[in-house]
Amino acid sequence: MARFNLYQEEQHPSPLQYTWLEFQKNHIAMGGLVCLVLFILITVFCPLLAPFDPNLQKTGNILVPPSWDANGGITHIFGTDGLGRDILSRVLYGCRMTFGISILLVVFALLVGVGLGAIAGMSKGFRSSFLNHTLDSIQAIPTILIAIIIIAILGTGLVNSMWAIVLALIPQFVHQTRDFVRSELSKEYVMAARLDGASKIQLFARSILPNMGETLVMQATLALSISILDISALGFLNLGAQAPSSELGALLSQGIEVAYIAPWNIALPGGALFLMVVSVNIVGDGLRSALKNRLLH
């Protein structure tokens, strides 16, 4: 049903719309977003896009250069690796693996982190301070060390390295949430809800959480770029994803063996990884400045 517009005044966008409008003004950020959407599409539709099975070995087609090289062919656009596997397919599947897993990790860390942060923000005294100190210590330890401990106990493998990264990601969500909750608690609208008799859980879920959305998304993009870098670094060091896997870091480490004779084996997966992180970071930056601009107005 069309709404009748009684007033001549211009439309007031909602905060979310406003952020989006601000974001749109930034062309670089939009470019990053397009790139990011592309990676999401790859992650979802990878099996349809990849021309070959990433683990299909063709012994007759070893180290075929990419198609722009004089010796390259059209069948393998990005060339093949030392076992005759199609690099385009491997990179596509690698993007799916690295990106998909990173998103999973971030979502998981976000849920846990917001939960813990809410508890820390709403409570005072020992419980809060204990949580603080534990998280500070975890945050001070380099991810790679956490990963080494977990891997030493549980053995190498993708899943084990994922635990390490989740553990490293959680603290920042907790801090973010706690600080936000703390500052909101003293604001009038929360006070009003409290006077209405809202319980702590209601207070958080109904009043505070809806206002956190954008900050959380921004934090999540940051976490996403960290998560991508970490998971590929562990794959690269052979601590995470293992050899036949096409995770981008693992792909790179497999490419080192032939780095000199077939540099595209490290250039292409590395480039994909780099592009992925750049687009995530650009979108994160764009979101942050859009948010800042909105708050300024």
């Binding site: 012994t59 005759g84 004779i261």
Partner: protein
């Protein structure tokens, strides 16, 4: 000024007084008597020690070393060696030799592996894989000192490959005086980790998985030119070794990867030497484990794998397909044995007939290191996995750290393994006996765990004759037996390569055994 500094920073200057060799791994000890693997041999045999006899590096003939001459009795059982005089042992920080090399050192070195009652026999484990696998300890009846510079060795029976065995990397001469000093100090175990020999270089420092540093042995008996320092930079990754060779951080590298040979050829300041290899890379089935004790299943598995594709993918055509376990350059080679043809359909049928159903799972062990006979076992295992999947067999690829791998392998925990063998001398017996005789199971070189009475009989009989034609007849029988039984599937005989920088002079490929730096110079 800054330009000059920049210049100095980016122009590499190599030190002419030291050679850096990028090797592929850490030796297990500094005594090749204890270990048949190339890494240990490279790090010890020709650098630290000498043998009574040597192989000439170009012709492969047996030439004098610590023994200046020898006489063989007419019945072929008694060998008398005249020893070289004024050969000095290494003078190291914990030991100063008081005398030159003499017959006592020969007696000590031989008796250590020969006699289980010898005080040093049990030091470092008491296993001497090379000599044990050839039954040399049983073959030698006595080693006698005739005088200070004359030694007599008597055999139980005539054996045509005996002299060749004395010239291998494993028949090194240790210092009896050093052993005595260590016994007095109650430090016997140091004999293999802080070595004393007569070789061109002495050990000065070793850090596991990092480097081995040697320094010149100033009183070396040969007139070979030596550099002040010799360094083994331990670099397990072959691409990293090549990279270091290109940047000049290494002067020579071990085992250039077959895929990278073209790169070495193209670089102006690098030299690539090539020799047909006296080796064989194979896929051994653990015949002590069912169902691999069944020759039909071994044949079916062999037929499921396209060896020519393996050759292309792993060796980059720098190897020839193997028919026998000996390479075609050997006189025991036989081209017309029963062949294994690639035929997955027939293989599948054969497997089903012998009770191997779809989904059967087995392990393929892939050695974690590179050898000329198999430059990339991991990759080969992955390819084999692909082939066996086509006939309905699931493959688990297994690999451990090298030392653990070998330990578990000799316990026979594998279903099958990708490994190989490099000859230590020109005698074909060096393939047949260590690889597949019953005695070699015990000494840990028989990877198929295969003990076949008829085979042992044939190859032992071959040793009673000295005429190669007569011996070739027996080896022909052995070849046929192996082609029929297939305890292992020979895959390739790979060429042996050596890459070094142009500045390095005198580095030759040693066709039998380890690298030799005596006489290698740099300018």
């Amino acid at each position: 000024m800054t330009l000059h500094a920049c210049d100095a920073l980016i122009t590499s200057k190599t030190d002419p007084n030291g050679i850096v060799y990028c090797s592929e791994g850490s030796p297990s000890s500094f005594n090749p008597q204890l270990d048949t693997f190339g890494t240990t041999v490279d790090a010890s045999s020709h650098q630290l020690y000498d043998r009574l006899l040597d192989f000439d590096q170009t012709s492969g003939e047996i030439v004098p070393a610590l023994a200046t001459s020898w006489i063989i009795s007419p019945d072929g059982k008694t060998y008398t060696f005249q020893l070289r005089k004024k050969v000095a042992f290494h003078n190291i920080s914990t030991f100063t030799p008081s005398r030159y090399f003499n017959a006592d050192d020969v007696l000590f070195s031989f008796n250590r592996w020969r006699l289980s009652t010898h005080p040093y026999h049990q030091v470092s484990g008491g296993r001497y894989p090379y000599t044990d696998s050839l039954n040399l300890n049983k073959l030698i009846k006595s080693v006698k000192r005739l005088n200070g510079y004359r030694v007599e060795i008597t055999l139980q029976k005539r054996e045509s490959s005996f002299l060749a065995n004395l010239a291998t990397d494993f028949a090194i001469i240790l210092s009896a005086e050093y052993a005595k000093t260590l016994t007095a100090r109650n430090q016997k175990q140091l004999i293999d980790s802080v070595p004393v020999g007569t070789g061109p270089y002495k050990l000065s420092d070793f850090r596991q998985d990092q480097y081995i540093k040697y320094s010149k042995h100033p009183e070396y008996w040969r007139s070979d030119k030596l550099t002040d320092k010799l360094i083994f930079d331990i670099t397990p990754s072959s691409s990293l070794r090549l990279a270091k060779l290109i940047t000049g951080e290494c002067d020579a590298i071990a085992l250039p990867a077959h895929s990278e040979l073209e790169v070495v050829r193209q670089q102006d300041n690098l030299v690539l030497d090539e020799e047909p290899g006296q080796n064989v890379g194979f896929w051994a089935f653990n015949t002590s484990r069912p169902p691999f004790d069944n020759p039909a299943i071994r044949r079916a598995l062999s037929m499921a794998v396209d060896r020519n594709a393996l050759l292309e993918a792993i060796y980059f055509d720098s190897a020839i397909a193997a028919q026998n376990i000996v390479p075609p350059t050997s006189w025991a080679f036989q081209p017309d044995v029963k062949k294994v043809n690639f035929n997955p359909t027939a293989a599948k049928k054969m497997l089903r007939e012998n009770g191997i159903e779809d989904g059967f799972s087995m392990t393929v062990w892939a050695m974690p290191v590179k050898r000329s006979y198999n430059p990339n076992a991991m990759k080969m295992a992955e390819l084999i996995k692909g082939y066996l999947q086509d006939v309905g067999i699931q493959v688990n690829i297994i690999s451990y750290k090298w030392s653990i791998f070998r330990e578990k392998l000799s316990l026979g925990l594998h279903d099958s393994v990708l490994i190989g063998w490099s000859a230590d001398n020109g005698d074909p017996d060096n393939f047949y006996r260590p690889l597949l005789s019953c005695a070699a199971i015990e000494s840990g070189t028989n990877r198929a765990m295969w003990c076949f009475e008829k085979y042992d009989q044939i190859i032992n009989e071959a040793l009673d004759y000295s005429d190669t034609q007569e011996r070739a007849y027996f080896y022909g029988q052995a070849n046929e037996l192996l082609a029929e039984q297939l305890p292992l599937l020979p895959i390739a005989h790979a060429s042996k390569y050596q890459a070094h920088r142009k500045e390095l002079n005198g580095l030759l490929i040693n066709p039998y055994g380890g690298i030799r730096f005596g006489g290698v110079t740099k300018h």
